[in-house]
Symmetry: C2
Subunit: 321 residues, 2 copies
């Protein structure tokens, strides 16, 4: 599906009508449109049963929250504040009414956390699977958006909080390692709340040049940012924020290739390093993991030596043919 989707996006770009008011269209976390009174960001993201979740791993309350979080994450990534959303839910005949209400309760809880308002949408019956599709609009904080295409040579690369938590959560659910009280990993998988407070501080200090959310995995997402920015990246394994448990249990690779963390990946100029370090001192959980360079691709260094990351872990560069 990945290849087909990339191909589709390319074709879609051709379909896209040119409009002077669309500042950033298909191919980023969201689209940026110049409208009278402000620059708005539009996103739309769906969660589908059997593809994005299983009811055995997640209840509808969490699905409701997550459907909001993944869209808020895209809005924040563009440098915009979320404002309003609409939702279509596709309900199979055999789902209980209580579960649907729980879904809305979850959405509402998440919406309150970001002070966003439900405007409406659609409720449809399906013969097959359950789905929830949220569209959201936000307003840019500044005149310029933070895209995947705005990283500059020499920029530092930063990331928020922890990576691999969500993938570890899914691993634990799939392997029946489920404690009575959900651990931080399962919680992150079910309800990946975007790091709103860190984002606000980054915005306030005007630190970032480029930004995206880590939805498919650090390496693949950083590669995408570098392709869009026509740059390369060098990152240091030692500096990636990997939870200790993952290292201890040999699942460190989940921090590199595991998806659905919905942390923010961003770049910033050298002149903002003081601000960045001040944030760290003030307790904001941000990590400096590398630098943007001329060229292309993502070079991964461990103890100064280049390595490659496979889905099962990393190997020294060249081992992986």
């Amino acid at each position: 599906m990945e290849i087909r989707e990339n191909d589709l996006i390319k074709r879609l770009k051709r379909f896209e009508q040119k409009s002077g008011r669309v500042i950033r269209g298909i191919g980023d976390d969201g689209a940026v449109v110049d409208m009278p009174g402000g620059r708005y960001v539009f996103v739309q993201d769906a969660l589908v049963e059997h593809i994005h979740f299983e009811f055995s791993f997640m209840d509808t309350f969490s699905i409701g929250k997550k459907s909001i979080y993944v869209n808020v994450s895209d809005i924040l990534s563009m440098g915009a504040d979320p404002l309003y959303f609409l939702v279509t839910i596709g309900i199979p005949w055999n789902i209980s009414y209580k579960k649907i209400l729980d879904l809305y309760k979850g959405m509402r809880r998440a919406a309150l956390e970001f002070n966003i308002t439900l405007l409406g949408g659609d409720t449809v019956e399906t013969k097959g699977d359950f789905f929830i599709d949220v569209s959201m609009v936000g307003i840019l904080k500044k005149d310029t958006y933070l895209g995947r295409n705005t990283a500059k040579t020499g920029d530092f690369i930063g990331v928020t909080e922890w990576l691999g938590e969500s993938a570890e959560g899914l691993y634990r659910l799939q392997n029946n390692m489920i404690p009575k009280k959900p651990c931080r990993y399962i919680k992150r998988y079910r309800e990946p709340k975007p790091p709103y407070n860190i984002w606000k501080e980054l915005m306030k200090r005007d630190i970032t040049n480029a930004m995206m959310d880590v939805s498919d995995g650090l390496i693949i997402d950083l590669e995408r940012m570098m392709i869009e920015s026509k740059k390369g990246a060098v990152i240091h394994v030692e500096d990636i924020p990997v939870p200790k448990t993952l290292k201890k249990e040999g699942r460190e690779h989940l921090a590199f290739s595991g998806g659905e963390d919905y942390q923010l990946l961003f770049t910033f100029g050298e002149d903002k390093l003081v601000d960045f370090n001040e944030m760290k001192k003030e307790g904001f959980n941000v990590s400096l993991i590398g630098k943007v360079v001329r060229g292309k691709g993502v070079k991964i260094l461990k103890n100064g030596k280049e390595i490659t990351i496979s889905s099962k872990g990393y190997e020294h560069f060249g081992d992986n043919t």
Copy 2:
């Protein structure tokens, strides 16, 4: 589903956060939001396989067009010009790539007709059925929206073009009455293009007080408008724009209870009657079908006598117990 959906909408209204900027929220064709620079209308409507269409009756090109039309229809109904849209498509594994491209071609064709721009969205695989979910934003033509709740006592009730065409088209498809070249009815069912030119003229002349699109059937939709406006309506069967063929073949009832025509139902004050009649003379296909009165419900008169409409046709009032 109808009852569950109405119940859900009621509960949703309670969930809705109060915001001074939301002028009209859940319960109309679209939501109206006061944003810096203008008043915007947001809508989101999905088409789902087996519920809204069957591939045996419709190709993906038409589905693409229809997915745009039903959302444009909601935007126009609120008195707004459509601007931008996003789309999520849920694609089962067994659908051909050509069919997906045809879907986008259909969307693009319809988008060009209304000069609207695709901003992005989501492409997801499904294990079950195909679905397409479009969200759209438009901008109000005037300061005030045209809702379901703005009909006034004494208003005339008007409707655009023909009613029952789409239901007749579905009837013909279901009964294998399919000509080589699609007839107007099957065409209306597959590609119900909103009456944009008539709408523009209605807007230009500032004729309408209330407006909605006829998506579920004239009587049920007019009832909904009257409930929201806290008024009643009297309509005359003789004045409903029913295609001659439907009368001849005994399916006149499809004009009253058949859905998916996506014609515009509107009310206007007596002071606008001259304008309305001028439009007719200029060739715009609009019909005056009744009046808004104090009270509630929809009273249907035939030759001056009250009748009721069942799904199979109409009977004299009181016959239908």
